[in-house]
């Protein structure tokens, strides 16, 4: 008999990634509605030392496997271990992170457990004793509500980072930690050859709270320095439109839109971006949108909370000065 809600955490370099706390918080809410306990599976090298902290977000019990073999995410080690723990627990609901590694893990796990998977969910509900999940399709041009067939457990949903509410941690609460007794596969089919960190530990677009994006109107790669400066002051990161990426000004990892990333920051500043439909699909769910463009007819203005019709090369330096002044006074 399936029971419990179980999250699968993401752990990197000695710490849980923020998305793990988001899915723990969401998991707590779902578990309460279902009247079920909230469990967690935490894998990684050094994860045992911090596993009990998940209690601060409402996790009751954590099953850990702490081993050097689990230092970096690799499907061939993580998936069999997580799958065996889940098979033993037999939870009703499994929540994972729709991060780069989490997407791989979720799909593999679902295939191994013969489970239905809804990916990249932005909202979860409980209805009729099971989960109902809202997820974007067509890069957010539409949303789908997904439901699982009756009695098919577990219901697996990966959650988009940065969307679900994260509880404030209650440091006085600790989760019970149990070492999971599972066989650890050697894993010799895939190797991580190297990990090269981006300069300044750049935040990924999907996890950034502020994004300053540039398009064709930036005229060249050198002018993105201005956006880097603004993003730096605002604690954000730089994005780009498809045409800026296609021109080779920015790497594809920076691309926002249907063939790039779908982003949901609190603030999205679009500079010199006209607003092609595929770009709008990728950023329209931002909380606040600012558009700076000299063409007052640019479609981006139809999505912008605040529009600045002006040459960005004239406006941005003045805006950067104002933001600096604000930041120095508060």
């Amino acid at each position: 008999m399936a029971q419990g809600v179980c999250i699968i955490t993401e752990f990197r370099e000695g710490a849980f990634r923020r998305v793990s706390f988001e899915i723990a918080s969401e998991g707590r809410r779902i578990a309460d509605e279902l009247g079920e306990p909230l469990l967690a599976v935490a894998l990684g090298e050094g994860v045992e030392a911090v596993a009990s902290d998940l209690g601060g977000y409402g996790v009751e019990k954590v099953y850990v496997v702490d081993d050097a073999l689990l230092k970096d995410y690799r499907a061939e080690t993580y998936v069999p271990v997580a799958a065996e723990i889940l098979q033993n627990l037999s939870p009703k609901v499994v929540l994972t992170a729709a991060s780069v590694d989490g997407k791989d893990l979720s799909a593999r796990l679902a295939a191994r457990l013969e489970a239905g998977l809804a990916t990249d969910c932005t909202e979860l509900k409980v209805e009729g004793g099971g989960l109902k999940a809202k997820r974007p399709m067509y890069a957010g041009k539409a949303f789908a509500w997904c439901e699982w067939s009756d009695g098919t457990w577990p219901q697996v949903a990966s959650c988009r980072p940065n969307v679900m509410d994260c509880l404030a941690a209650d440091a006085s609460k600790k989760a019970e930690v149990e070492k999971a007794d599972v066989a650890l596969p050697a894993g010799n089919l895939t190797q991580v050859v190297s990990i090269e960190k981006d300069a300044g530990g750049k935040l990924d677009l999907t996890e950034a709270e502020v994004i300053v994006s540039g398009g064709r109107g930036m005229k060249g790669p050198e002018n993105f320095a201005m956006l880097e400066e603004l993003a730096g002051i605002l604690g954000g990161t730089v994005g780009a439109s498809r045409s800026a990426v296609d021109s080779g000004w920015r790497p594809h990892a920076d691309q926002v839109g249907q063939t790039g990333k779908v982003v949901t920051p609190n603030l999205y500043v679009a500079c010199g971006i006209s607003g092609a439909i595929q770009h709008l699909a990728g950023m329209s769910s931002s909380k606040y949108i600012v558009a700076v463009n000299k063409d007052s007819e640019a479609p981006i203005f139809s999505k912008a909370d605040y529009g600045i019709v002006e040459d960005l090369f004239q406006f941005l330096p003045a805006f950067i000065e104002e933001v600096k002044t604000l930041k120095s006074t508060c």
Binding site: A75, A98, V100, A107, R108, A110, A111, G116, L117, M137, Y138, A139, G140, K141, A142, F143, A144, W145, C146, E147, W148, T152, N188, T190, Q191, V193, S194, E196, D198, K202, D204, T206, V210, L234, V245, G248, R250, P251, H252, A253, Q255, Q258, T259, V262, L267, I277, S284, K287, I289, V290, F301, D305, I308, E310, Q314, F315, A318, F319, V323, L326
Partner: protein, 263 residues
């Protein structure tokens, strides 16, 4: 070396999406169908290996008859053969169902590498390719932006949050591609390529040909399905700020700080 590229046909990314009369699928009457852009990068990656180390490239797809056009496009780019699983019973399959169909079709093909896009830009599920790797029992390297093959190993570069990772896997393996167009642009089909593609072998299969039945992979087998669709909340256009440069800069800063409270 044999490479199989999984290709899906999707609505062009410039398509305006409208919800259909059933409320749970999209209106398809005015859609221009194209090869999923990420699958196109996968085709390009395979053709680069065909050029550099020699490889036979097979395109494998599932979908209705119109899907033939996307397979022909890949053949015109330079792929060698095509296989289409066209069976109405696959309509309504979930991700796992689709992966089972593709994995079954793969069994009848020889392959050292399977390439595909990391997601299709229609349903954005990001699961079918990875599930195929799981079902085929082979390693998967995800979100690659490049692929090299040496001595029975495939090596890829993949950007993750805040870092670039280089990974390798023993063949056979499945590689899903991310935004490779920052590294390379998929080649266009040349006119002679298009002419040649018409004569290249393209086989159509049904579920029965693959030894599968509808109740294993079709709508009845779906563990998760879309029960409703909705449009995103329409954003109300906001205001355009007035004044000279400095006035606008001051006002925008004030609004973001006091009204929106985001800076």
């Amino acid at each position: 070396m044999n490479i199989v590229v999984l290709v899906k046909q999707v609505p062009d990314t410039e398509t305006k999406i409208k919800i259909g009369a059933d409320g749970k699928s999209i209106e398809t009457s005015e859609i221009k169908w194209v090869m999923n852009p990420y699958d196109e990068y996968a085709v390009e990656a395979a053709l680069r290996l065909q050029d550099s180390v020699g490889a036979s490239v097979t395109i494998l797809s599932m979908g209705p008859e119109r899907t033939v056009e996307s397979i022909r496009t890949a053949l015109a780019m330079g792929a060698d053969t095509g296989v289409l699983v066209d069976d109405p019973a696959t309509e309504g399959s979930d991700g796992l169902g689709k992966a089972k169909v593709l994995a079954a079709a793969l069994k009848s093909l020889e392959f050292d590498l399977v390439f595909c896009g990391h997601r299709a830009v229609d349903s954005d599920e990001n699961q079918v390719g990875i599930m195929v790797a799981e079902l085929a029992g082979i390693p998967h390297l995800g979100l690659a932006v490049s692929a090299e093959v040496t001595d029975g190993t495939v090596k890829v570069q993949r950007p993750i949050e805040g870092a670039k990772v280089t990974m390798e896997a023993t063949l056979p393996a499945l590689v899903t591609f991310g935004g490779a167009h920052a590294v390379w642009n998929p080649r266009y089909a040349s006119l002679p390529g298009i002419m040649k593609a018409k004569k290249k072998p393209l086989e159509t299969k049904t579920l029965a040909d693959l030894g599968l039945s509808a109740d294993e992979v079709g709508a009845q087998a779906a563990k998760v399905s879309v029960t409703a669709m909705e449009m995103p909340q329409e954003r109300q256009p906001g205001r355009k700020l007035e004044g000279d440069t400095v006035e606008k800069a001051k006002e925008l800063t004030r609004l973001l700080h006091e009204e929106a409270k985001v800076i």
